[in-house]
């Protein structure tokens, strides 16, 4: 039994939300057809392919167990798991750290640095990888002393040794992706009312306390948002290993990441059902991670 007052307020809230939804519709309408055609339909098609065989017969989880037993499946998922951990870890710590540092600086300094951080992100994915192919070759790299001393590589083949690859790819992704997120985080920090910061200062909080105890909790949702998106792009890694595969004349396997495995299954073996199963695995992983993060951080909670 619920008290009548509560249900009345609920009804009011729902009505309010319904009204807001109706008003919001024109704003999302132009996007809806694209979401449907390029997002929902392919996903539904992938699901359909994943549970059927090439003659459209129902096979249940057959494709999933079959791909799981493929000798390239586990290594590919191990690779992207390690890669995503390295990348997400460095992304969250360094991006948030840098954004907090920038926000505490005088505006001219922070503008300059924001711009510098952002520049690499202006390079499109594939061309950024090509730049890195040179960066990783000790023979031509401007950072060859770092390669020699930090990575211990004197030759390109040593730079892309199997054990180093998750870190190398994480480095590439961080270099191209972090700048944009620093700008986003900076924007998030700007939404914090100045009075709050001032009040904290008056209460005797130093810059470190302000950053960690005040600013950080207030941009928690942005960090969660970044984590969800970065996790999805991380597990769907494709361009970097694909290009390094070709540039290394095949030293890096063409099924290094799970997305590459799906691509190879579809277009080399003509096995679209197995490819769809691997893709669905990836969607599932992304969804589970997103739900966990949303639940833990209260990303969509509006009553704060």
């Amino acid at each position: 039994m619920k008290p009548p007052t509560l249900s009345a307020t609920r009804a009011q809230v729902t009505r309010k939300r319904g009204l807001r939804g109706a008003r919001g519709l024109p704003f999302v309408l132009p996007y809806l057809p694209f979401l449907l055609v390029f997002g929902i339909l392919p996903m539904a098609y992938a699901l359909y392919l994943a549970v059927t065989n090439d003659t459209s017969g129902w096979v249940g989880v057959g494709n999933f167990t079959r791909t799981f037993r493929d000798y390239r499946f586990l290594p590919a998922f191990e690779h992207i798991l390690l890669y995503t951990c390295v990348w997400l870890g460095s992304l969250i710590v360094i991006v948030v750290g840098l954004a907090l540092l920038l926000h505490g600086r005088a505006s001219r300094v922070s503008t300059t640095f924001r711009f510098l951080f952002y520049i690499p992100g202006a390079l499109a994915g594939a061309s950024a990888v090509l730049v890195w192919l040179f960066m990783l070759d000790p023979g031509v790299s401007p950072g060859s002393f770092l390669l020699r001393h930090l990575l211990g590589s004197h030759l390109f083949v040593q730079s892309i040794a199997p054990g180093k690859l998750p870190f190398v790819f994480a480095m590439i992704a961080f270099w191209t992706g972090a700048g944009g997120w620093i700008v986003v985080m900076y924007g998030a920090l700007n939404t914090i009312p100045y009075e709050l910061e001032e009040a904290a200062r008056i209460d005797g909080a130093g810059p470190l306390t302000v950053a960690l105890r005040l600013k950080l909790p207030m941009i928690r949702k942005w960090i969660a948002y970044m984590t969800i998106l970065a996790f999805a792009t991380g597990t769907q890694l494709f361009v970097e290993p694909q290009l390094v595969n070709e540039a290394s004349l095949g030293l890096v396997p063409d099924t290094w990441s799970s997305n590459q495995l799906a691509y190879q299954l579809a277009f080399r073996y003509g096995d679209f059902n197995a490819a769809a199963a691997v893709s669905v695995d990836l969607i599932a992983i992304g969804l589970i991670a997103a739900v966990l993060i949303v639940k833990r951080t209260g990303l969509f909670r509006t009553e704060d």
Partner: protein, 432 residues
């Protein structure tokens, strides 16, 4: 994933000129679309020049080099869309016709009736055998890629070494070079095709079709004894695990450094590698006959390439496609710098090409007797399969050699990797 698939589709469709406003190959019988690698681009361009009435569209691609599967993905897409197939494809991958002739690709057209029998009969039997799938010939090879022993005559004379005749003499010399002239090399093992030089040539049974089964026996003595011979040389630096096509290799051993003393390698290494890639000065390099294992006969050698020309069975201009392939393999033979890089597979053309090579001042001595002798010595116990084996070699062996492991410890994992690739492609594998 979706974006990349869409991109591939767009590229494939755009590359084929699938423009509805233009007449399709079906209507204009002299329209021709030809896909070649960059090395074969001059052939295609020369054909266009010699045939101004033919409308030829040339598309270059990676040629499936180093075991890439570009063509498989492309043909899958064309098969699914039902159009866009090129009329002629050149592949660097000698095994490509094997899968092109079979399900699910079914791309290659049988050559019987397209190319006259009196021409086809002039390809060496071993070359024709590599183009024959289930009894039907689906391709002609552009060149033979028999492995010989290339060596630097100037350096060998200077150091006072005799050119080895057997693998054992070669290995002993490698140990001598390491102490007497460190920095010089007697071979290399870091290419995606190095196993074809050392293991194919020495009869290691890693790809043997026996009825409907595939035999992959990496424990065979023919494999392990080669690994045992190579290990000390890899360790002492005279056979580095580096690819000859990397900038690192060129800067360490090529050009003015001139550190390549010997190198077992295919016929097309001739000018393509030593002159144009490594820039080794003229008057130094020449070829010797393939190395023999102790006193075992007959002498067998490996093969690196033998790129095939394939005609599409979907072509609406089969006559034009056949004409192109005939011209490219039996007529095209420029001289001098523009000469064909590899030993032509078509026998009458090979004669003319060898004459040109014999008079080529780049070589320290006439390399043609060695090339000619090796042409018939490629071991026929290495069969072509539907999957490329180079990526397995690169992933499981080369990367580990770079990390300091011994070849002997990697031969078994290599066999395991090949067996996995074979099973994934639908083969029943026998491991002994």
């Amino acid at each position: 994933m979706l974006a990349s698939l869409a991109m591939t589709a767009v590229v494939a469709i755009a590359a084929c000129g699938n423009d509805p406003s233009k007449p399709k190959a079906s209507q204009g019988s002299n329209n021709l679309t030809v896909w070649v690698d960059s090395v074969r681009l001059p052939v295609a361009q020369a054909y266009v020049k010699a045939h101004p009435n033919q409308h030829v569209k040339i598309v270059t691609f990676d040629g499936d080099a180093n075991g890439a599967t570009t063509m498989q993905t492309k043909i899958q897409l064309w098969n699914r869309t039902g159009n866009g197939w090129p009329d002629v494809i050149f592949s660097e991958q000698v095994n490509d016709p094997v899968w092109m002739a079979q399900k699910p690709f079914e791309f290659a057209a049988p050559l019987k009736g397209l190319i006259p029998g009196n021409l086809l009969s002039k390809w060496p039997a071993a070359s024709t055998a590599q183009c024959t799938v289930n009894g039907t010939q689906y391709c002609v090879q552009d060149n033979l890629a028999q492995v010989v022993l290339w060596f630097n005559k100037k350096l060998m004379d200077k150091f006072g070494y005799a050119v080895p005749k057997t693998w054992q003499q070669w290995a002993d010399l490698g140990k001598k070079v390491a102490t007497e002239h460190p920095g010089y090399i007697v071979g290399n093992i870091g290419d995606s095709f190095s196993h074809w030089i050392y293991l194919w040539g020495n009869q290691c049974p890693l790809e043997q079709l026996q009825g409907d089964k595939l035999r992959i026996n990496s424990a065979d003595a023919h494999c392990t004894r080669v690994a045992g011979m190579l290990d000390p040389l890899i360790k002492n630096g005279t056979v580095p695990p580096l690819s000859v096509f990397t900038p690192d290799f060129a800067s360490k051993y090529g050009g003015a450094k001139d550190k390549v003393l010997m190198m077992p390698g295919p016929s097309w290494f001739a000018q393509a590698l030593f002159d144009e890639t490594l820039h080794i000065p003229a008057g130094q390099i020449t070829a010797a006959a393939p190395l023999q294992w102790e006193n075992e006969t007959p002498v067998t050698t490996g093969q690196v390439g033998g790129g095939p020309w394939i005609i599409s069975k979907h072509s609406r201009n089969l006559k034009g496609a056949a004409d192109f392939v005939i011209w490219a393999t039996t007529v095209f033979n420029p001289t001098g710098k523009a000469a064909r890089p590899g030993y032509p597979a078509y026998a009458p053309l090979a004669e003319a090409w060898l004459t040109g090579l014999a008079g080529n001042s780049y070589f320290a001595a006439d390399p043609t007797p060695a090339l000619k002798a090796a042409a018939g010595q490629v071991w026929t116990g290495w069969n072509l399969v539907t999957y490329p084996d180079q990526p397995v070699w690169s992933n499981t062996v080369v990367t580990k050699l770079v990390a300091g492991k011994s070849l002997s410890s990697l031969i078994q994992p290599f066999g395991d990797g090949l067996a996995q690739a074979a099973k994934a492609s639908g083969y029943t594998v026998v491991r002994q």
